[in-house]
Amino acid sequence: MHKTYLLDSLDELRRHLAQSHEIYQVVPQSDGARADFHWQQVGGGNWPDLVEQKPLQSPKSFFFAEQEPLYVFDGETFEEVLPTPMPFVLFGVKSCDLMAIHYQDIFFEEDPYYQARRKQGLLVGVDCVTPCEQGFCQLVNAGPSVRDDTADLVLHPLDGQRWMLVVLSAAGEQALHGLALEEASPEDLHQRWENISHCEQSFPRYPYILEGIDKLNQHAISDEFWQQLGIQCLGCSGCTTLCPTCSCFATRPIESASSQQTSVTQVRFWDSCLYESFQREASFHNPASEAGQRVKRFWYHKFSDDFVPEFGRYGCVGCGRCEATCPGVIGVHSVMKRIADDA
């Protein structure tokens, strides 16, 4: 049984965590140009409200950096460059994004760069109590409630201003040390599951997603269908950039010169399996030369049973960001609907 507490407001908790951590939270885009939300460091006594909306970018880059150095060559030796971030809290991570971090934790288990960041990060999740636009986390076991093994602490909005705080890990419990909190009552716990149940029932059904997954795993989708999608795909990498479980990267060297010496830093940066050059070799042999092959690969990586033994789940966490960003209308809803209808 997890320890559960009540909070009259989130400020006391954030103030406490801020004594030992940098705090990051999703905030509205500051220029107000469009309705968007993004992760930003917060503090200084000015704590923004938790927003219900899902940020356009998942917190993927906090652990798997968009670009980072791997090692430096000084002309004679190669020196590993590991990141050294301050302890930080991601405050209010949605259940789908937490499941994606859990997925990446497994994938990058032996990666020293990812793990150097990950061990500094405390995850404070938040249950969703209303379905989000294009989200279908309940169909892929990623939400709307935060799953037990994906966060350190969980927030749940009760009635009015009160919040429930659920402790899921030893790190979460340690982070609360010194904070006097009132324990939640059985009625409060009941309220949490009532709210979550109501949220689950409020999601649109999206039967075509389950049908699409089924057809994909039965290999019942024609090559012509993938080729047609390939023609529509611009190869812009919007979906792979925003997808919280996409993790492909490439490497390249960057030279820097000082008065003493020239050194070379090998960096890695996000890459996309949808790029034509992704598998192209120096000989120009390209096992994925057709766009249809690449699009097929992307969707198999998200929904194929072949990947389940390693990760215990599909690669998709149901956030719907691919649908929101794709200029070619081949996000998850569009593709699954077409697969269900006519693939």
Partner: protein, 277 residues
């Protein structure tokens, strides 16, 4: 935890061996501690060659690292990394990471009838296994097919000349201009298989293939039709790689990564992964 940082290696020696191809000897410039993983290298595994300021690319060992950290690799000039390597000279320091991946199934080769087929620079990942077998003499029968486009593209010439005295070697060349019929056969690797298989008293127990993917799959399909079990045919698959440790995603083959699950695969596995040529 994985280590993605190279160790310095010195270019000890190199000589031209085939069109745009050089055979290099490298020496690892590191302590005993850094050397120990390299001493466990297996035939068929690969390493990443790191040209600082240019990039990294995978190559196989033609000779595995010895106790002094010396090893050899055949390098064909093909892209920016190999271009830069060809600009380097003996004594220059570059980098290497490895060894990586799954080598040839050596335990399956012990006291068996073995057929080895290499095409073009695909002979490189086969060189150390051929040498190991010849040196140990622990086989019933060992025959090698080597296929090249033309005379200029023939590689590992000194090694093949040595093997020629010790085991049957079938050198097959598509364009025979400048070559004599007695020493070379006209045609392709797959084309000569009926003749080679006829020389085996019983059909080969294990076949190792390396070279262009289309050649390997055509040969594998022929061998299966001949009656050899797909589980007894092994291929070495080439893919673009950045990390070599199963993370960057570039070398995917269905749900597998060539760098960590391969580069050697049985034909039975590859049929399951629906390999595309």
């Amino acid at each position: 935890m994985l280590n993605l940082t190279p160790v310095p290696i010195k270019i000890v020696d190199c000589y031209d061996d085939g069109e745009n191809t050089r055979h290099y000897q490298f020496a690892i410039q590191e302590t005993e501690q850094h050397l120990s993983p390299w001493l466990k290298a297996e035939s068929g595994q690969f390493f990443m060659l790191c040209l600082p300021g240019v990039g990294e690319a995978p190559f196989t060992f033609t000779t595995l690292p010895n106790a002094q950290g010396d090893f050899r690799a055949l390098v064909r000039r093909m892209g920016s990394v190999t271009d830069a390597l060809f600009q380097c000279g003996v004594g220059d320091i570059i980098g290497a990471r490895g060894p990586f991946g799954r080598g040839w199934p050596m335990e399956r080769l012990l006291n068996q009838r073995i057929l080895i087929v290499g095409g073009g620079c695909g002979i490189a990942p086969l060189a150390s296994v051929i040498n190991q077998l010849i040196d140990s003499q622990q086989f019933i029968q060992l025959e090698v097919v080597y296929a090249a486009r033309n005379q200029a593209a023939l590689m590992l010439n000194p090694e093949r000349a040595r093997w020629q005295h010790l085991i049957p070697i079938f050198n097959v060349v598509e364009d025979m201009a400048g070559l004599s019929d007695g020493e070379f056969y006209p045609g392709t690797a797959t084309g000569i298989l009926p003749k080679v298989l006829h020389t085996f008293g019983e059909q080969p127990d294990t076949v190792l293939l390396a070279g262009p993917e289309a050649m390997q799959t055509a040969a594998a399909e022929y061998l299966v039709a001949y009656g050899i079990d797909p589980k007894s045919i092994f291929l070495s698959i080439e893919r673009r790689m950045h990390c070599a440790v199963g993370l960057c995603g570039h070398c995917y083959l269905n749900e597998k990564y060539v760098c960590s699950h391969g580069p050697t695969f049985s034909w039975a596995e590859l049929l399951q992964y629906d390999i595309a040529c």
